[in-house]
């Protein structure tokens, strides 16, 4: 049965990747269909109810700068906001919001429903329509066919999903949702490398059964931080606190004595779990000398009593879960509302993707999110955005776009995935970014809004907002360069107070700002330096850019050096067997990854500088021959 409408783009999945993909494609003018097995779960947070954190908050701000939805939804659904690493340098500061699941989901749903050119349809997808080497549509569970020029698959953990609790296991996509088995089997027939990953969640607890007086309170920051560059939501939800408790040796003993019933240790689970988010049983086995582990008690929402005890994800049998939870301070009478579980799912080796997130074997098919081996809402959303952009660009016959490693964490994410692959659920950390000092939360808009505007993602409101800020920064920077601090005007006392020592000669204001101990506000208090700007975002930007200037210059030099390779494209049809002088090992690696640029080739593990030189020589030779025959 053929559906009457043909779309430009079909996005399969309504999670964080799917919604960003669909919204981006529609905003760029593509006629887009979002297919989900359940409209009610669009924008659902299936793991812990929080957005952001170190590395992840950076992604959220970048997605926002490119017109994405995540930051705005977090601002509308957030019930506790904090800036992590606030006492460390600006590059590693990151925003994190505890979100009300329902409010967050509603915020996403509202934006999706109001997006012109975007339709929603509720049906699970069972099959892809393939013609030769390109995808031309999908087939739903009830046999409906939808045709499109590009398909974005964002199916999360639903592909061949299998849930484990103790010795029992069953098929499932997320507790309470069916898995996508038919689609998984269909995709396994296609030429993709499939692997299995594992992730887990903790048992949820009824907050009314928790003794909060035993717990350490963790309130949000004041003033409440904001995610979106557009500013805070007009109506912020009521803000609440999180709490902290700890496991103890009694809980550890209970877990230790039940390890033989853990699917993790019995070999029942084959997939690889993340090293940075181990289950509580894993922590206790691997770090046996630690007699206590931190647990963050995160509220699930304002209208529910359920809490999410972050730090005790487990797949132990339910009776063991109950026993060890009740051994923990404050949880003595805890009532578990949903058992913790581990879930195994299929993912596809992301080294089979192009930087646009289009699959190499099938034209028009894009993968985004957990299907590519990542974990986390933010990582998924970032990929969804890039896949949506490139699906639209494919339909519009434009060159693919994807940010570079020096432009965005999104670029780091995608480049890591496609050049190095992953064998555990991939999560963003700031240490993954070599240009960490440049890729900050505070300047994500300055880095990306203009590109977003060119891509057609940034609306007029955001653009005006951005232009104002950028102009204010540039003006003030120019003023600081032109303003001189003179010893006789500043005076000894004020100079000592702000600068730590009297001025010995005239200085430009921007030179003084570069000194580590001098803040912008304090500098502006010196006589003769003017009032400065009021907008705290502008002042912050000026201060950070001044403090980091030496480092930023050096990183820009490094970037310039790497760019020449980054921009040198390797032809798609290159036959590595014909490249004289490459070792067979390197040849095999290049053949497997098929890097798009010399820069990517250089980052593949095992590809030596000598191999890159040989490749450059080969490309040059080829170029020569082409010129001759042309």
């Amino acid at each position: 049965m053929d559906s009457s409408t043909t779309y430009d783009i079909i996005v399969v999945g309504g999670g964080h990747a799917g919604t960003e993909a669909a919204l981006a494609a529609a905003r760029m003018g593509a006629n887009t269909l979002l297919l989900t097995h359940n409209i009610e779960t669009i924008g659902q947070m299936s793991c812990n109810p929080a957005i952001g954190g170190i590395g992840k908050g950076h992604l959220v701000k970048e997605i926002d700068a490119l017109g994405g939805v995540m930051a705005q939804a977090a601002d509308r659904g957030g019930i506790q906001f904090r800036i992590l690493n606030s006492r460390k340098g600006p590059a590693v500061r990151a925003t994190r919001a505890q979100a009300d699941r329902v409010l967050y989901r509603q915020a996403v749903r509202r934006i999706v429903e109001h997006q012109p050119k975007l339709s929603i349809f509720q049906q699970a997808v069972d099959d892809l329509l393939v013609e030769g080497e390109r995808v031309i549509g999908v087939v739903t569970q009830m046999g409906l066919k939808f045709r499109a020029r590009a398909v974005v698959l964002t199916v999360g953990t639903f592909l061949g999903g299998k849930i484990h609790i103790g010795e029992s296991s069953y098929r499932g996509g997320r507790a309470g949702d069916p898995p996508a088995i038919a689609l998984a089997e269909r995709l396994r027939e296609l030429p993709f490398d499939v692997g299995r990953l594992k992730t887990g969640t903790p048992p949820r607890i009824d907050g009314r059964s928790v003794e909060y007086s035993m717990l350490q309170e963790q309130p949000g920051d004041e003033p409440t931080p904001v995610f979106s560059f557009l500013g805070a939501a007009v109506q912020r939800p009521r803000q609440v606190s999180c709490h902290i408790t700890y496991t103890n040796s009694r809980a550890h003993d209970i877990i230790n004595s039940a390890l033989d019933r853990s699917p993790m240790f019995s070999g029942q689970i084959e997939g690889t779990g993340p090293r940075y988010c181990p289950s509580i049983e894993d922590k206790i086995v691997r770090f046996a000398d630690k007699d206590s582990h931190q647990i963050f008690i995160e509220p699930e929402g304002l209208d529910t009593h359920e809490i999410y005890p972050n730090g005790i994800s487990t797949s132990l049998p339910f009776d063991v879960q109950t026993a060890f939870v009740r051994a923990i301070d404050g949880f003595e009478k805890a009532h578990i509302t949903r058992p913790g579980y581990a879930i195994e799912y299929d993912y596809f080796d992301p080294r089979g993707l192009r930087p646009s997130l289009e699959t190499q074997p099938l034209k028009g098919l894009f993968f985004a999110g957990q299907i590519n081996g990542t974990t986390g809402y933010e990582e998924a959303a970032a990929q969804g955005l890039v896949a949506g952009i490139n699906a639209a660009r494919r339909v519009q016959d434009k060159e693919p776009w994807s940010p570079r490693r020096d432009e965005a964490y999104i670029g780091v994410l995608i480049d890591d995935l496609i050049t190095r692959g992953t064998n555990e659920p991939y999560r963003m950390f700031t240490s993954r970014a070599e240009y960490r000092l440049i890729l900050r939360e505070d300047n994500a808009d300055l880095r990306l809004t203009e590109t977003g505007r060119d891509l057609g993602l940034v609306d007029d409101e955001r653009w005006r907002h951005f232009e104002c800020k950028r102009e204010a920064i540039e003006q003030e920077q120019q003023r600081l360069r032109d303003t001189w601090a003179r010893p006789e005007i500043v005076g000894t006392e004020k100079a000592e107070q702000v600068l730590g020592a009297p001025l010995t000669r005239e200085y430009r204001a921007n030179e003084l700002l570069r000194r580590p101990q001098v803040s912008y506000r304090a500098l502006m208090s010196l006589p003769g330096l003017g009032a400065g700007v009021d907008d705290p975002k502008v002042a912050e930007q000026i201060e950070i850019q001044a403090k980091y200037s030496g480092y930023i210059d050096r990183q820009h030099e490094e970037i310039a050096r790497s760019l020449q390779h980054e921009q040198k494209k390797i032809p798609m049809d290159i036959d590595y067997a014909s490249v004289h002088g490459l070792s067979s090992e390197v040849r095999q690696k290049l053949d497997q990854h098929r890097p798009a640029t010399i820069g990517q080739a250089a980052r593949i593990a095992g590809v030596t500088p000598a191999a890159i030189s040989i490749l450059l020589v080969h490309l040059k030779k080829r170029q020569w021959l082409d010129k001759k025959t042309a």
Binding site: I54, K88, C277, L616
Partner: protein, 453 residues
């Protein structure tokens, strides 16, 4: 369009340790700046200009000839300058160091040719040859690097790298996992570790600069009666005036050990003539040290005077007992007849004996090749020496980064700038240790700390 490799490369273009002149070739955007700093001004293009080569304080390292080839009309198509000096490895090393400190980096094997090709300076027929060249040179460089990494040097480097990784694990964990209770930035332990690392690195560098590590080559023992021409031969092999040569027997007796470069292979030559009975305390100490080196000898060079013993068919030399006693065992022996010019014999190798004239040079080339092959060395321009030179440059860059890290740590403990400097330090050491990726680092963090919200 010029192949826009922004960095500037430099290397000795002549085989090291050989001949009277050595050439350092520099190519890239920084050539003009380097020329101005080293020579005092930029020489006129394509003229051989006599000049002095200066260090950073203006003192003269060497004098020689400089030729400047502005791009694109140069071998590589970039700005190139060639500095021709007097060829002593020590002097060339100082000069090269000076050039590196001005922003050049050591050239990879075959890199000048590679750039020449990429900038349309070589024709297509040469492309395959260049691929081969890069391939073979890089393999050889890898082998050289391996060889240079044996022993003490290697142990010191790996201890250093382990320390650096540990420190980075502490700092990166504190930055990326702020909610885990591992804020080591506030901890004095971090300062202590960084101080220790700096001290460790400084001692590796100063050890290497003194030469002992750079000269960890093969040990060769020369045995022969006085005045058979040992010193003359040594000079021939080293290509410079290494030892004093006179007609008076025993001239070299104070020279117990001599380090030479044989086509890039560092050789420590021990002349057993010096190992004689003596009461002189200074000489005794020298003899004690030379004897210790004898145990590590890879080869014995046994020299006799063909003119005075020409009638003998076999090389049986009467040696004083003290020398016989010091002859290392189970070590290959190369038997050399010197002074064939006095008896008009042909040079060359016959029946495992070598016939040469150190004075005229006849047969020395054959002997040189035999020495290299007996020592298992087949290198040309890229030897252990150059590999080590690169290591030292990497170590110096790492030391600078650690110094800045220390300043950052003391000034404010924000951490991300300390982390940046440590990343740079590790990146500099990549040359020696191989790649250490962000994922490797995360792996270390996860195995060191229990992370997991």
């Amino acid at each position: 369009m010029k192949h826009a490799d922004a960095d500037t490369i430099a290397a000795v273009a002549t085989p090291p340790g050989r001949g009277g002149v050595s050439i350092i070739r520099i190519s890239g955007d920084k050539v003009r700046r380097i020329a101005e700093a080293v020579l005092g001004n930029l020489p006129a293009p394509r003229y051989a200009t006599h000049s002095v080569f200066m260090n950073e304080s203006g003192a003269i390292i060497d004098d020689g000839v400089a030729i400047f080839f502005p791009g694109p009309n140069s071998f590589t198509g970039e700005d190139v300058i060639e500095l021709q000096g007097h060829g002593s490895p020590v002097v060339m090393d100082m000069l090269l160091n000076r050039v590196y400190s001005l922003g050049a980096r050591p050239a990879r094997p075959g890199e000048f040719s590679e750039r020449a090709f990429l900038n349309d300076k070589l024709d297509l027929a040469q492309a395959e040859a260049i691929a081969d060249l890069i391939d073979s040179h890089s393999e050889q460089a890898a082998r050289s690097a391996m060889r240079s990494l044996h022993g003490e040097f290697s142990q010191m480097i790996s201890a250093l790298v382990n320390g650096l990784v540990e420190l980075r694990v502490y700092i990166e964990a504190a930055l990326d996992f702020a909610e885990e209770e591992i804020d080591y930035l506030a901890n004095d332990d971090v300062t202590r570790r960084l101080d220790a690392l700096q001290a460790q690195l400084a001692s590796v560098i100063s050890g290497a600069r003194q030469g002992s590590l750079l000269r960890e080559g093969a040990v060769v023992v020369i045995i022969g009666e006085p005045n058979v021409g040992k010193s003359t031969l040594l000079n021939r092999l080293a290509g410079r005036e290494a030892a004093i040569v006179t007609e008076i027997p025993g001239t070299t007796r104070d020279v117990l050990m001599e380090d030479i470069l044989l086509d890039g292979l560092p050789l420590r030559i021990i002349d057993t003539a010096g190992l004689r009975e003596t009461d002189d305390p200074v000489e005794l100490e020298g003899i004690r040290r030379a004897r210790a080196e004898l145990d590590t000898a890879s080869l014995v060079l046994w020299i006799a005077d063909r003119a005075s013993r020409g009638a003998e068919t076999q090389l049986i030399i009467k040696t004083p007992p003290v020398i016989e006693k010091n002859r290392p065992e189970n070590v290959p022996v190369i038997k050399v007849w010197n002074k064939i010019d006095l008896v008009n014999e042909a040079a060359g190798m016959r029946d495992e004996e070598w016939f040469i004239s150190a004075k005229t040079g006849a047969g020395v080339e054959v002997l040189r090749d035999s020495l290299k092959s007996r020592l298992g060395y087949h290198g040309d321009a890229e030897g252990v020496y150059m590999a080590r030179r690169r290591h030292l440059t990497a170590l110096a860059a790492a030391a600078e980064a650690l110094q800045r890290a220390s300043e950052q740590l003391h000034r404010d403990r924000a951490g991300e700038l300390v982390a940046e400097e440590l990343r740079r330090a590790q990146h500099a050491l990549t040359e020696i240790t191989g790649e250490f990726t962000a994922d490797d680092l995360l792996g270390e963090i996860f195995s060191s700390f229990c992370i997991g919200k």
